[in-house]
Amino acid sequence: MRQGHVAQGLEFADRAGSTGMKQLTLDDIEALAVGAWILGTGGGGSPYHALLNLRRLYAEGERVSLMDPDDLRDDDLVAVVSVMGAPLVILERTVDSRLIARAVTAMEEHLMRNFKAVMAVEIGGGNGMQSLLAAAHLKIPVVDADAMGRAYPEAQMTSFAVGDLVPFPLTSIDPRGNEVIVGRTASWKWMERVSRKVCTEFGSIAATCKAPRTGAEVKKWGIPRTTTKAINLGHAVTDARRRHADPIEAILQAESGVRLFTGKVIEVERRTTEGFLRGRTVIDGLGDDRGGRIEIDFQNEWVVVWRDGRPVVSTPDLICVLDTETGEAIGTETIRYGQRVTLIALPASEVFLSPRGLEYVGPRAFGYDIDFKSVFRS
């Protein structure tokens, strides 16, 4: 009953330590929480609980190493992890680092093979840090890559789906000792449907290990060095704040982004349809943008920005709405009237810019009949 109660099966054996990799400091991890939230492009869930878990694990002496995807051997096996669920439920049933590790070992038992490393399915939001939680327990490295380069609302919106990689198996874990293996599904969409059902039954939260990837697959279809990118973003913001410099300028410089509009929120409209938070916000210009007005549509994440009825920027370009003063990212669930915000865009991963990539994550995948035109290509 005392603190430290450990559910059965949640103790992890020591494995050989990793060598020749970058060990992350607690400073890097604090920065990752800030950067992952920015790359969440309005969604992805808050990284706060994952950060608390990591602070505790670091205080207990655990360390996480980051491995470059190019250092993977072609036949190495990589675990792809995430927490599925409703943000509201996660506020109450906080994520336990051991469950995400258990999702990985359950997959190893199913495959009868061990993983070389673990990676995040999405770097944006709280899931950008789940891979670190698993890695800390399992003492294997985190691959510096993900399959979105940001956050997206649906499981098939990944570079692995674009690459037509196998969508199964998947393990889904509940802390009460319920473990489900989804052995085979006909498509990525079916995997989303079936695993969502399991998640709902567990209480709308589940720790999952997605379809395992080989080193060759990660090198070909993974989006490389996104953990480093998030860490750099976080450091840029905190350093700028420390120097009393403009944190948004620091973000733009760190990731070759563009500042698109500065203003204040004058309207927010939200509705929940088909399990997603959809809506629109209107921003009136301030400063150099005074007199201008933009509208941003969202589906969990920011999707399309409009000006005078024309799209200015759309997914897959990363649309980030930041607090003009602090540079802190503002989510679609929390944005509200009167906030002073700056809209910036960061470049999307190449894999989503192909015709096939756009099929999965371009404006039409979100129901907008417009052609994608990147703000980074004239």
Partner: protein, 516 residues
């Protein structure tokens, strides 16, 4: 109906007499370290200034004493923290994310047990009552006198917290138990944090309220004592002693409520300009709008009913830098009467700017004769920009609003502001906080997730529950009205799930107000 409202601030203790809803007199006395003698002094000043009559129906006191205790790390007691959520949430036990020094003062031991519910009301795990009994005995042996019980999703189903509280009361005579569902909504860590802060302040709260009672006795009053809350309502003394965190932000709330009352306006933005800061809030149906996000108290993340406030460094004592055209955030504070130029001091403050511009008459105007009209105007323009920007941040939408300016520094608020239809100043505005205390009502509220029912049915069910809670807290049932109803759709959850927050308020029930 004759009521006395008293607000114990950091510098001044203000008191007002309210007769049949009219402010008869307001006075100020210096706040004292023991709180009680300041209250007695303020009361005596009031009695000297006006005839208090033979009968006082209610005494309402507001205080910032409990917040200060957390911020200053004083008078805190150790607490036993019991979490009912195993096998979930174990990785982030009670006190996670707390500042180390505060945790050391408050942490009397942490226990986790199986139990709790899910978001849809289904049981998560059977409640470990036998385990709770063992825990209770350990607590009894350790000598701890205050406990906190936090169960998963208790805002939806509080039965596990209540069951464990009952076990604690059986096994540990005299223990105080704070159940988290009384203090906050969804968000287990923040709700638990608020409950722990509450429990660790109970001894101070009891002592403070005993002091209030003693002051009342010394003054020969038999009127019931009420303590003001963060949301502009009051609690009976016994209830306030059990829930000190509900008094955390009562100061700014009282001044906003007082502003609403004195002006007769229920929809407005209020700015309370003091010596160091200007606090902006939004009055909705006569009450301050509440913050939706987490509120940090003394470095601890909490989530409970607090007014949504913006505080900026603009007040009568704010330092002025003419070359940089900058105001504050530093202030001379309570040293204003010595340090401002008009009082013969050496520091240029906003009060000096106000005197030069003829906005207020204070001190010796000749001492600021060297300031040019252009310089002064430029600083006043800067103050106007600061006020305009923050009024706009507080506004609920883009329309023009009424701005009520209260507090000693209200002279810094100009008559014409962008986005403001009208600036109102009110009589007794300097004592708006004590007026806010004197007029306070009783509330009841609900914050719950509903599924599978229509929006109107969900709000109706929530309203009924809120009414019951208000009556339980001392409100007259026939006087209840709904002041807040908010529903938010929840992404990802099936079954048209929505989170509904409802708040009702009513007058203090007549039966609770014996005459003298």
């Amino acid at each position: 109906m004759r009521r006395i409202g008293i607000d114990v601030g950091g510098t001044n203790t203000d008191a007002v007499l309210l007769v049949d809803g009219k402010v008869v007199q307001g006075v100020k006395a210096a706040t004292t370290a023991d709180v009680t003698s300041g209250i007695v002094a303020a009361f005596q000043a009031l009695a000297k200034a006006t005839d208090l009559g033979t009968r006082i129906d209610a005494l309402m006191i507001g205080t910032t004493h409990f917040t200060n205790a957390v911020v200053q790390r004083r008078y805190l007691t150790k607490v036993a923290a019991i979490r009912i959520a195993l096998p979930a949430t174990a990785a982030l036990p009670p006190f996670t994310g707390w500042p180390q020094d505060l945790a050391e003062l408050a942490n009397g031991g942490v226990w986790q047990l199986e139990g709790g519910h899910d978001y849809d009301g289904r049981r998560f795990m059977p409640l470990d009552v036998a385990g709770a009994r063992t825990v209770a005995r350990q607590i009894r042996e350790s000598g701890l006198k205050h406990a906190v019980v936090t169960a998963m999703f208790s805002p939806l189903d509080s039965s596990d917290e209540e069951a464990i509280a009952a076990v604690l009361h059986e096994e540990v005579p005299g223990i105080s138990v704070t159940c988290s569902h009384r203090l906050g909504g969804i968000g287990i860590l923040e709700r638990e944090n608020a409950a722990i802060l509450n429990a660790s302040l109970i001894e101070l709260a009891r002592e403070t309220i005993r002091g209030f009672e003693q002051a009342k006795a010394r003054l020969g009053l038999s009127a019931p004592l009420y303590v003001t809350q963060n949301d502009g309502t009051v609690a009976e003394a016994a209830r306030a002693a059990a829930y000190p965190v509900y008094s955390f932000a009562s100061g700014p709330t009282n001044s906003m409520r007082g502003a609403a009352y004195l002006s007769g306006i229920k929809e407005a933005i209020v700015v309370d300009v003091g010596g160091t800061t200007a606090d902006f809030g939004h009055l909705r149906l006569g009450f301050p709008r509440e913050a939706n996000a987490c509120v940090h108290v003394g470095g601890v993340r909490t989530l409970f009913r607090m007014p949504d406030l913006i505080s900026i460094g603009l007040g009568g004592g704010s330092l002025v830098d003419l070359t940089q055209r900058r105001i504050g955030p530093a202030s001379v504070g309570y040293r204003l009467p010595e340090e401002a130029l008009v009082f013969g001091g050496r520091t240029l403050t906003m009060t000096d700017i106000g005197v030069t511009a003829g906005l207020i008459e204070l001190g010796d105007r000749k001492r600021v004769g060297h300031l040019s009209a252009g310089e002064v105007q430029s600083i006043l323009d800067r103050a106007r920009e600061m006020i305009e920007e923050n009024v706009d941040r507080m506004k609920p939408d883009a329309g023009e609003v009424t701005l009520i300016a209260v507090g000693g520094g209200a002279f810094l608020v100009p008559e014409k502001l962008e986005g403001v239809a009208k600036v109102l100043r009110v009589e007794h505005g300097g004592c708006a906080n004590a007026v806010g205390a004197a007029i306070a009502q009783v509330s009841g509220e609900v914050d719950q997730v509903f599924q599978g029912v229509s929006r109107s049915k969900a709000v109706e069910a929530a309203r009924k529950l809120a009414d019951e809670r208000a009556v339980e807290a001392g409100a007259a049932a026939e006087s209840l009205s709904m002041v807040e109803a908010e529903d938010t759709p929840i992404a990802y959850l099936p079954g048209n799930a929505m989170r509904v927050r409802v708040k009702v308020v009513g007058d203090v029930a007549a039966s609770a107000v014996p005459t003298r």
